[in-house]
C-alpha cells in the first residue's frame, strides 16, 4: 500500500526524512532488540521511543518509516540522524493502540 495514503488517512506529521512510496507490514513495540529482529524491510514501525537508537534500528532494518505515537517528538540529534540516514519519521497524536486499530481498518 502507498505510504502517502496511509499518512494522509492517519493524519500523520512528517518529522524527518523522505517517505518511500510503499509500505508492507507493521510492527509495534519499544524494545530495540525486539524491533531489530521483528521489523521487516519496508515495514512501518510504531513506537514511543524517540532517541537516536531508534533511528539506527530503523535504518538497519530498512523500515519504511517510524511512527512516533502520542505526539512524541524528535530531539535535534535524532532528527539529524534521521535526515542523514534517510530514515522517514512521522508523529501522531494517537496512541499505539489507536494507530494499530486505524491502520488495520485502512489496509483491510
Amino acid at each position: 500500500m502507498k505510504l502517502s495514503v496511509l499518512a494522509e488517512k492517519l493524519g500523520l506529521t512528517l518529522l524527518a526524512g523522505d517517505p518511500p512510496e510503499e509500505f508492507d507490514g507493521v510492527y509495534a513495540g519499544d524494545f530495540l532488540s525486539r524491533a531489530m529482529s521483528r521489523v521487516g524491510e519496508g515495514e512501518v514501525w510504531i513506537t514511543i521511543m524517540n532517541n537516536v537508537n531508534v533511528i539506527a534500528v530503523a535504518s538497519l532494518t530498512d523500515a519504511a518509516c517510524v511512527i512516533l505515537a502520542e505526539d512524541v517528538g524528535l530531539d535535534d540529534a535524532a532528527r539529524a540522524a534521521a535526515d542523514s540516514k534517510g530514515v522517514c519519521v512521522y508523529s501522531s497524536g494517537k496512541t499505539v493502540y489507536e494507530l494499530c486499530r486505524d491502520i488495520a481498518a485502512i489496509v483491510s
Binding site: F31, S33, M36, L60, T61, A81
Partner: protein
C-alpha cells in the same frame, strides 16, 4: 573473490548517540559488495546487538569483520567486566541493564539470543574482570 576483505572499528563506550554506527557502515559495504538481503539482514542484526552490548555493558571495544569466500566473520572484543554466567546471559529476557539504559529502549534481554539465532556459529570467550570476545559467522554461500 581472491582476497578476504576486512573492516575494523573502534567502538566507543561513552557515546550512545553513535551506537550502531559500525553496523551501519558494514551493512552499507555488504550492500555495495552485492550480498543478498537476507545475508545482510542477519549480519546487521548480529553485529548491531554485539556492538551495542559492548557500548552498554563493556565501555566499548573493537569490532572486526572479515568477508571470505564462504562466510562473513564478526569478532567483537572488549575489555569489559566479562559475563559471569553465559548460559544465563543467553536466555531470552535476561538483562542486567540499568534503568537509564532501559529508558532508551535497551534491556529486553534479546541481544545475545538474536546473535545466536541469526548466525551460523557463535562463540563466547569471557573472563571476569578481563573482557569478552564474541566470534560469529554468517555463511553466504548457498
Amino acid at each position: 573473490m581472491a582476497e578476504n576483505i576486512t573492516f575494523h572499528f573502534d567502538v566507543h563506550g561513552d557515546n550512545f548517540s553513535s551506537a550502531g554506527e559500525a553496523s551501519q557502515v558494514v551493512k552499507k559495504k555488504l550492500r555495495q559488495l552485492g550480498f543478498p538481503p537476507d545475508v545482510i539482514r542477519r549480519v546487521s542484526i548480529a553485529m548491531y546487538e554485539g556492538e551495542i552490548n559492548m557500548v552498554i555493558h563493556a565501555d566499548g571495544g573493537d569490532a572486526d569483520v572479515t568477508v571470505t569466500d564462504e562466510d562473513i566473520i564478526i569478532v567483537l572484543a572488549d575489555k569489559g567486566p566479562g559475563i559471569p554466567d553465559v548460559d544465563l546471559a543467553m536466555q531470552e529476557g535476561f538483562s542486567t541493564a540499568r534503568e537509564h539504559i532501559r529508558s532508551l529502549g535497551f534491556g529486553a534481554g534479546m541481544g545475545l539470543p538474536n546473535m545466536k539465532k541469526y548466525t551460523d556459529t557463535m562463540k563466547i570467550d569471557t573472563e571476569i574482570g578481563v573482557g569478552t570476545t564474541i566470534t560469529m559467522t554468517v555463511k553466504h554461500k548457498a
